[in-house]
């Protein structure tokens, strides 16, 4: 679950001076309680979500434009409603655009459907693969922000078959991994193999010479890309 950023138009239900709006937006930074709205896809129980920042952009009468960076699972509709309650005016979310999901932002990688259909038809004409690579990124891009573990070639196929990662397979890792952290396991070439849950910390992983270090949760790489280096117990 990754962090998000949105640009939001909040509509106030009565006139409020700008300095009061910016002050309350500031107060709504940090961890806060949220009960998911009536129409939501999750269980409606009180939970905490962290707002990393609320950046006021501009205000036009009762419309407030601001940027919000927040934890996955934060309801912006609810945030606007709650801000309205604190302002005393009441408010609702008028418009919303997501501007970040984890490593994906509104940068040069962002393409429209028009861009895609144009680049794709150009590729069909010219067969120039770089046209496709302009807008299709390797899946590894999605894992950019996760802590990583790199493993030996000999460990790859076992992981592809769902095996858990053991200490001898580990070549390098990010520092600061704690027990229970979600990690991404990579080949030395930088290919994603699995999403796993660390069962030991980085420090311990560095010192271990045998035993499990991460439980495999999702296999991303197809089997057979790397040679099978493990032996079955029944042979």
């Amino acid at each position: 679950m990754t962090g998000k950023e949105y640009v939001c138009v909040m509509r106030l239900h009565s006139d409020v001076p700008e300095d009061k709006v910016t002050k309350v937006l500031d107060e709504f930074q940090g961890p806060l309680y949220q009960r998911p709205p009536v129409r939501s896809s999750v269980k409606r129980q009180l939970r905490t979500r962290t707002i990393y920042y609320n950046d006021f952009i501009e205000m036009d009468e009762r419309n407030v434009l601001f940027k919000v960076g927040c934890e996955a699972g934060t309801y912006i509709r609810k945030l606007c409603y709650d801000i309205g309650e604190v302002l005393g005016s009441g408010a609702h979310m008028q418009e919303l655009r997501r501007t970040r999901v984890g490593p994906f932002t509104e940068d040069e990688s962002l393409v429209t459907l028009h861009d895609i259909s144009y680049l794709f038809s150009q590729w069909q004409e010219t067969k120039d693969e770089s046209l496709l690579r302009k807008f299709i990124y390797p899946m590894e891009k999605a894992l950019e922000l996760m802590p990583k573990i790199h493993v030996r070639d000999s460990a790859v196929d076992a992981l592809c078959h769902g095996a858990h990662l053991t200490a001898p397979g580990v070549l390098s890792l990010d520092s600061g991994i704690k027990i229970g952290d979600a990690v991404a396991v990579f080949t030395q070439k930088g290919e994603a193999i699995t999403l796993s849950e660390a069962t030991v910390s980085s420090e311990k992983m560095l010192k271990m010479d045998h035993g499990f270090v991460a439980k495999t949760q999702r296999v991303l790489m197809p089997r057979g890309m790397y040679p099978k280096m493990w032996r079955s117990t029944q042979q």
Partner: protein
Amino acid sequence: MRRINEPWNIKRSLVVKAEEETDMRFGHRPEERPIKEHMRFGIINLDKPAGPSSHEVTAWLKRILSLESAGHGGTLEA
């Protein structure tokens, strides 16, 4: 309260436990994947128009790019 550690600004550092050469006969660096594989395991950062649902847009893309399967990273649930 002001600006707390956004998860996308966390800096990590890689530590080496052991060294080994990788065999170039197997696998590919992600940016050098053969185009067919690249498309099968690729990701698009799409500027979705307001209106059509994520599900609909995914279906269009699947058709435009003649893909076997396609999915999306989640709907915008306000």
